[in-house]
Amino acid sequence: MSEELRVSPIETRGVAGKKRYAMVVDTRRCIGCMACQVACKAEYDTPLGVNRTWVPYKVVGKYPMVKKQFLPRLCNHCDDPPCVRNCPVEATYKVEDGGFVLQRYERCIGCRSCMAACPYNARFMLPSHRTYTPITNVVDKCTFCFHRVTQNLVPACVQTCIGRSRVFGDLNDPNSEVSYLVAKNATQVLRPEEGTKPHVFYIGADRNATEFGRDAYNKPEVMEQERSAFKAHFKI
């Protein structure tokens, strides 16, 4: 990775001695089993209606030649994260060694500025009541399983991915599998025009899936129903 591409002091690209964790999602290998989503929910007791990782799909083609295109999504742990810049109280911060973008729950005031700043919808507000976890009414997000990675484990979604679609590792290590995959394959990132320098790379992602769809012309009514039910349930 060339150092001249680094424009912000917060970036960890090619910094000697610093890890730069990234995930490669090979969409050709994703079978849409949603096991990653379930594993994440189980790991963090993520409440109903919100997700740290999710797998949207599109049905493309014409009958009988139709197929589902999956695009697993999560926080992109950007090298230059706009959520960190926008948090007024530094409740969101970037871990210098590793590049994890994490949240200080005890400091978050719930202004949702980070949610507005995130181009990937990766952040969400935790509801006011949860069954097993006392953390409520603050913004939450994917942590790249910081607690597991620091124990030399891979994130829960990577561990459980049956098709080995998700691969995790250190991009600053030229011998890592993610470095190999990024070097040897054509990869895409979501919304590169935002300059966030995401750390989630996709192989084989179709532009129809990665860009804004034309749904705004005809928003599905079911979304409004879901949104109303969610707000009523969580009293927001």
Binding site: G49, N51, W54, P56, Y57, K58, V59, V60, V66, R73, P82, R85, N86, C87, P88, V89, E90, A91, R107, C108, I109, G110, C111, R112, S113, M115, A116, A117, C118, P119, Y120, N121, F124, M125, N137, V138, R191, E193, E194, E211, F212, G213, R214, D215, A216, Y217, K219, P220, M223, E226, R227, F230, K231, I236
Partner: protein, 284 residues
């Protein structure tokens, strides 16, 4: 066809739009109260504008803190160890605090008949202009959101603040002909500035990429189109300008109607500018 779009909620809800509206009136009124030291015609509204400002600032503060999901942690924003100065919210919180202090001191010295009132009025008036500027930056810094990401958003919010502030001042001035004559100029020119900026924002949005194009569709059609274009632009900006340019617009009844339309329009515009550009993101 066949998209399974995951459900996301908008980040900021309507309470924030009401806060924008209230704090805009506060800014406009405080600035006009300061101007009264330089323009004799505005003297009748000097005290009233300052009192209404301080009350509305309290209302705005309650709205802002109440909108936080952890309201008591608003104190974190005042903790120097936590403040992140790359966030406009941090600057905004300091702006609100210093403005509130200056406004209270201004009212105090004005009541005492002290000469320092003019100086404090100037400080409060300038800090008041910081309120719409920081709220505009609140949106502008979110560069991934079409419509919000225009650099003219703080300028638009200043123009909206002057329009709504002078509209409230006009309603307070009653039958004072000299004050109404000057306030009519403020309403007319600030509404015209709002109109020009909105045309420029809509024009550039419509010529942008996919996200801009879709945001334009959301902002100009359906319920959001009714609020933004129908109430905000046509009824709340174009109609009062036309009314004020007509002979009846110089009469008290015409001015009062124009002021009411401007207030309704500026509230609708703030709601649409806040909520509209968030809709597309919920589909991504």
């Amino acid at each position: 066809m066949g998209d399974y779009v995951w459900f996301h909620d908008v980040s900021w809800h309507a309470a924030y739009a009401i806060y924008f509206f209230v704090v805009g009136i506060v800014a406009g009124l405080s600035f006009l109260s300061y101007l009264s030291w330089h323009h004799e015609a505005l003297v009748p509204i000097r005290e009233k504008a300052a009192y209404v400002s301080v009350v509305l600032l309290g209302v705005g503060g309650v709205l802002l803190i109440g909108d936080l999901s952890q309201p008591l942690r608003f104190l974190n924003v005042l903790n120097p160890a936590y403040l992140n100065f790359s966030s406009p919210l941090a600057w905004g919180s300091l702006n609100i605090l210093s403005f509130g202090a200056a406004l209270v001191a201004y009212i105090w010295f004005m009541k005492q008949g002290d000469d320092k009132a003019k100086l404090l009025g100037m400080i409060a008036g300038l800090l008041a202009m910081g309120l719409p500027i920081y709220t505009g930056f609140d949106l502008t810094v979110h560069q991934s959101r079409p419509v919000w990401n225009t650099p003219v958003m703080p300028v638009l919010f200043v123009a909206l603040a002057m329009a709504s502030g002078s509209a409230v001042a006009s309603l307070m001035a009653g039958g004072d002909a000299a004050a109404q004559k000057m306030l009519r100029q403020f309403m007319l020119w600030s509404a015209a500035a709002v109109g020009v900026i909105l045309v420029s924002i809509l024009g550039t949005t419509n010529y942008g990429g996919t996200a801009q194009e879709l945001s334009f569709v959301i902002m100009t059609s359906g319920t959001m189109g009714l609020i933004f274009v129908g109430i905000g632009i046509l009824a709340g900006t174009a109609a009062p300008i036309a009314l004020m340019l007509a002979p009846v617009g110089r009469q008290p009844i015409g001015l009062m109607l124009s002021a009411l339309l401007l207030l309704v329009g500026s509230a609708a515009l703030r709601y649409a500018l806040l909520m509209g550009p968030q809709q597309l993101q919920t589909l991504y």
